[in-house]
């Protein structure tokens, strides 16, 4: 092959392309890639719209309830459970009691698609502060999110359990649910006799006469009893006011019912303390109706992942064995003012 030094066009050879050919090839590649990238971006955008606007469920149903952390755009009824005694902390270090429940109610109200909430209550009540915290949070959530809340009574929703239910729009109870016990209790034990037997004597140094009010190492004085009684009556009045305003019930009708007695669901219905006798499904349907949900409502149960993890951790670490202190706190051996039905304990 002879070398050609002419200024004319170079011969085209696949292994030695000219600059012009390379530039052309690059242009074509870039355009093609641009087209592919454009199509990809378009498909991504379409996918985003489809996924957000019309999410598919696990088996093709149009709802996202199956996702643990899932969002759902379908109108649903949120389900929050309040089980156990109500305190601002629990027997276990990670329990946050009333604050935790209040947070869960708020989170449920904030969840997209949740139009009503069922509050599944199975509680004998608890400390005054914790119960009032929940009561006011329920009222606040109802007002802030304009969302109806329906209380469903399980085995028991007495005292503080009933107090928080009074903040809800409606109350559904089983015919045999135990409720009522409207009242306040301040348990003061006196172990003076026991202490004298074992030779133990307590001598508190006080800044004021009543600083050791409620002391269990001596008999309560008449004056102390009057002070505690006035506190109890004040808290009792707060209880009555909460029920009266929450359930729109006149005080004169409520007061005779609020002598501390417990009622079955049926008796409570007759007394006007609950609205409907029914079960979980009835509560969901009522909540859906109040939330203007058309058709059969879906229920969204929000698991407390932190709680679940800690429970799992506890079961792994201690296999569910509780210490005596935990048993005592679980039974409710606590000091202070309580909206709680002790069940004779």
């Amino acid at each position: 092959m002879t070398e050609n030094n002419d200024s004319g066009p170079q011969p085209q050879h696949p292994e030695h392309p000219t600059d012009h050919h390379v530039a052309g090839s690059r242009r074509v590649k870039r355009r093609l890639m641009l087209a592919v990238v454009g199509l990809y971006v378009l498909s991504l955008a379409a996918a985003a719209v489809v996924a957000v606007r019309a999410p598919l469920g696990k088996k093709g149903a149009k709802d996202g309830d199956d996702s643990v952390l899932g969002l759902t755009s379908k109108e649903t009824v949120g389900w929050v459970s309040i089980h156990g005694a109500i305190y601002n902390d629990g027997p276990r270090t990670w329990d946050r009691g009333a604050y935790q429940w209040a947070r869960r109610i708020r989170l449920m109200a904030e969840t997209k698609g949740v139009k009503a909430i069922v509050l599944d209550i199975n509680s004998p009540g608890g400390s005054v502060g914790a119960v009032q915290e929940l009561y006011s949070q329920i009222k606040r959530v109802r007002k802030e999110f304009n969302i109806p809340v329906v209380a469903l009574f399980g085995d028991i929703a007495a005292s503080g359990g009933y107090y928080i239910a009074a903040a809800c729009d409606r109350i559904v109870a089983h015919p045999g649910s135990l409720t009522g016990s409207i009242g306040v209790i301040f348990s003061v034990d006196n172990v003076e006799g026991l202490f004298s037997k074992i030779g133990y004597k307590s001598e508190p140094i006080k800044s004021g006469q009543h600083k050791d009010i409620g002391s269990w190492s001596r008999t309560m004085t008449k004056e102390e009893r009057e002070i505690l009684q006035s506190i109890i009556m004040d808290a009792y009045d707060q209880f009555l006011t909460a029920i009266s305003t929450g359930r729109n019930m006149p005080m004169e009708k409520l007061r005779p019912l609020a002598d501390g007695r417990i009622y079955t669901g049926n008796q409570a219905l007759e007394a006007g303390l609950v609205d409907v006798i029914g079960d979980a499904e009835d509560a969901v349907e009522l909540a859906a109706k109040l939330g203007h949900i058309v058709g059969k409502p879906k229920v969204k149960r929000e698991p407390d992942t932190r709680q679940m993890f800690m429970d799992l951790f506890e079961s792994r670490a201690g296999a569910g064995v509780k210490s005596p202190i935990e048993w005592l706190t679980g039974l409710g051996v606590r000091a202070g003012l309580e909206y709680r039905w002790t069940g004779g304990l």
Partner: protein, 193 residues
């Protein structure tokens, strides 16, 4: 110097040329981008098909998926490179990472595929699984070819090397399962006694 677009184009059209270019420029950033796009694509495809659980449809979850894909890509590349080094075969790990990223770009196909499946057969889990499996196999094929191109080895050796990380994961999972089972039985025996 070839642009990133050309490298991607050549990877699917003229792989030897692309591998040559990657060997010289070692575009690790392109690899990162490819892995991130893979994560985003798989996430969106899963979202369209309603198979996102336990993730939620949120930007955070999508970013997490992209990061996960990048980390997985890095670990996968590192393991492959280590195997090759043990075998005494020389090659660049950075180039391999970029080529692996390009191979995983095939997963971008799942987005239009998911849209089509959603349109044609909504809620058909088997079809979706089949489509994802096909794309996965395609990606594996490209990965094997990338190993061939990067280390200049034969197809058989490339495929065997490619399966080492997967085999390692399976063995690790089996080990964890075995340990879990032994612990569980010991716990049960303790409870019984």
């Amino acid at each position: 110097m070839m642009s990133a677009a050309e490298v991607v184009f050549d990877y699917f059209e003229d792989h030897t040329r692309s591998a040559d270019s990657v060997r010289h420029s070692r575009p690790a950033a392109l690899g990162l981008l490819c892995f991130a796009l893979t994560g985003v694509s798989v996430f969106m495809a899963q979202a369209v098909l309603g198979r996102l659980a336990p993730f939620s449809l949120s930007v955070t979850s999508m970013v997490l998926m992209a990061i996960w894909e990048i980390v997985l890509g890095l670990a996968f590349t590192a393991m492959l490179h280590l195997v090759m080094e043990f075998e005494g075969i020389q090659g660049s790990a950075a180039s391999l990472f970029a080529l692996m990223g390009l191979a995983s770009l095939v997963w971008a196909l799942t987005v239009p595929l998911a849209l089509i499946l959603r349109l044609v057969a909504p809620g058909n889990g088997w079809l979706a699984t089949a489509a994802f499996t096909l794309v996965g196999l395609l990606s594996l094929g490209y990965k094997a070819r990338s190993i061939q191109d990067n280390y200049q080895v034969g197809a058989a050796r490339a495929w065997i090397t490619l399966f080492v990380p997967y085999a390692a994961v399976v063995v690790a999972a089996l080990l964890v399962f075995a340990v879990a089972m032994v612990t569980m039985f010991r716990q049960i025996l303790q409870w019984v006694s």
